[in-house]
């Protein structure tokens, strides 16, 4: 039987949904899956996490915790995962294509003498063969990669694959000692505190504004609407370059690639580089004063109007709808 190790990341003490997507993708194809998680956060929440990963089909939850692991330490993660992978007789290493995994997996692939298929939107296991589909040239086309042999290292784009119904099973918790020594040391993480909105790359709903928002303070009307529907807030590069939003909010080819169920673009023209970051969103809404704006060609629903007038109305309508249940 093919065995896979899936790296599980936590947010606010819970296994991220995107990590569970990887477990389900493999377990649902008959692969025997174990999960591995790092850090004090994991230890403190181990029963909750074991239930979440077990519910998607993971047999074991390996927990690698030490005082060193308050922050992401790539050297420790690499050494620990590589050692666990070899000792456990795994063939596949998988995880969600988060910023951590994108940084980490290429290093582990080399250490395991394995191939890498990053940021994939589909994965198929048939016997001893693994193939995966991934977007190329910012989604202008797709390529299917096939591994010549195991081991295989794969990351899956968040929000593309689904999770399964919770089986009610819990994974068996196994403490795993971290190994390796730190060369590049993460000293601290700064800047993210106080933001309760979801991460752009993992958000199921996103509301973005472009140059038309005119100034940073006006993002307030977007945020008010976004908060009603639990959406993350994004921006076009024009808005970022003009200093109306930080680069971390930029969606597009040179910003974040996002894949929500709902993307609402306000005052964004729909340049190819912006589309590259969001066109795989399941439902796209555009609000724009210009009926000829290219964004309307990609939108499922377009509203020709002034965002400063439409967005506050939209906030009201969402509130009405959601308070009615």
């Amino acid at each position: 039987m093919t065995k896979a190790l899936v790296l599980v990341e936590l947010k606010n003490g819970n296994a991220k949904k995107s990590s569970l997507e990887s477990i389900h993708a493999l377990a649902s194809q008959g692969v025997e899956v174990d999960a591995i998680a790092f850090g004090p956060d994991t230890t403190g929440n181990k029963d909750k996490v074991a239930k979440a990963v077990g519910g998607q089909g993971a047999k074991k939850l390996l927990i690698a915790d030490s005082a060193d692991l308050k922050f992401y330490q790539p050297d420790i993660f690499t050494a620990t995962i590589a050692a666990t992978f070899k000792a456990g007789g795994y063939q596949i290493l998988a995880g969600s294509a988060s910023s951590l995994v994108k940084d980490l997996f290429p290093t582990i692939a080399v250490r395991l003498d394995a191939g890498l298929a990053p940021d994939c939107v589909a994965i198929k296991i048939e016997g001893a063969s693994l193939s995966a589909k991934r977007p190329m040239l910012a989604g202008k086309y797709f390529a299917t990669l096939k591994f010549k042999a195991f081991p295989a290292v794969v990351s899956l784009r968040p929000n593309v694959l689904t999770i399964g119904a919770d089986s009610g099973q819990s994974a068996q918790i196994v403490a795993t000692p971290p190994s390796g020594s730190i060369r590049a040391k993460t000293l601290e993480v700064s800047g993210a505190a106080g933001n309760s909105r979801p991460d752009l790359t993992e958000a199921e709903r996103i509301m973005s504004a472009g140059r038309a928002i005119k100034e940073a303070a006006n993002f307030k009307i977007i945020e008010e609407c976004a908060d009603v529907i639990g959406a993350a807030v994004g921006a076009s590069r024009a808005a970022v370059d003009a200093g109306m939003a930080p680069h971390a909010m930029q969606v597009g080819q040179t910003g974040k690639t996002v894949n929500p169920n709902l993307y609402i673009a306000c005052g964004i023209s729909g340049a190819i580089q912006h589309l590259a970051g969001m066109k795989t969103s399941k439902v796209i809404v555009a609000i724009n004063t210009d009926p000829e704006a290219p964004i309307f060609q990609k939108a499922d629903y377009g509203a020709v109007g002034d965002l400063f007038a439409v967005v506050p109305e939209l906030t009201k309508e969402f509130k009405k709808l959601l308070s009615a249940g």
Partner: protein, 260 residues
């Protein structure tokens, strides 16, 4: 300080995808220096100017990639190393093999105190080759770097890297190290006309991929199939007062798209 800068030549961002049996048709494509690599080149030049030493630009690909290397040389890099493969062979290489080739060239021509690269190439968006090169060289690496501060003795560095949710990690590392640069680390200069003239005279050493003992047989993954994304059906456009527009949107999101 001896610095290597890894660069890739990529199709222009406006490229329209014409697919053939081996993937993107390259004939007639407009190629550029990968935008993120410009940040790596700029960082290398600034550090070379400050700390003295040399900045060597390294690229793998067919002869056309020398154009991207000339851009880096025109910006101010000193010399180049071109690992040559044919257009056909290049299509069969994976990140693993490319990284192995770059690492073995760096080993031959090194040691380097600092290796710089762009965090990602805009054609395959894999964010993989820099970390893989570091691992082949058994060096630490820091990716998506928005700030690099060298210590006074240039033996260690403090870096910031962008992570999810707008946060930044602060990292300390002893050299040698590989750093993959992100937007924000600096503002890349434009190549000046005298720079472009001078670049033509700068030495670019050629190494065949085979001379490094590698070929597409070393690739761990093969590309099997290429396809264009499915076309989306045309959407609905609403007109009316702001309130009517908002009602239309919300009603369709609830009853038709069922996402709210």
């Amino acid at each position: 300080m001896k610095i290597a800068v890894l660069v890739k030549q990529t199709p222009d961002t406006e490229t329209k995808a014409n697919l053939g049996a081996q993937g993107l048709e390259t004939t007639g494509l407009k190629f550029i220096l990968n935008p993120y690599d410009e940040f790596a080149v700029e960082e290398a030049i600034q550090l070379r100017d400050k700390l003295k030493g040399e900045a060597v630009v390294v690229s793998l690909g067919p002869d056309r990639v020398v154009d991207a290397m000339r851009t880096a040389l025109a910006m101010g890099c000193d010399t180049g190393i071109h690992i040559k493969v044919s257009e056909d062979e290049l299509k069969k290489l994976d990140s693993f093999t490319v990284a192995k080739a770059l690492a073995s060239a760096l080993k031959q021509k090194g040691p380097f105190d600092l290796i710089l690269a762009g965090k990602q190439a805009i054609d395959d968006d894999a964010l993989a080759v820099p970390q893989m090169v570091a691992e082949f060289l058994e060096l630490p690496r820091v990716t998506v770097v928005t700030k690099l501060e060298m210590s006074a003795d240039a033996k260690s560095a403090k870096l910031r890297r962008a992570v999810e949710g707008g946060a930044e990690e602060v990292i300390e590392v002893t050299l040698p190290v590989l750093v993959a640069a992100h937007k924000g680390i600096n503002t890349p200069r434009y190549a000046s006309l005298p720079g472009i003239m001078k670049a033509k005279q700068k030495k670019v050493e050629l190494i065949e991929l085979a001379a490094l003992g590698l070929s597409s047989n070393d690739a761990k993954v093969t590309y099997e199939k290429f396809e264009l994304p499915p076309e989306k059906a045309p959407g609905k456009i609403f007109k009316g007062s702001p309130q009517e527009l908002a009602e239309q949107i919300v009603q369709h999101l609830r009853n038709e798209a069922k996402v709210i």
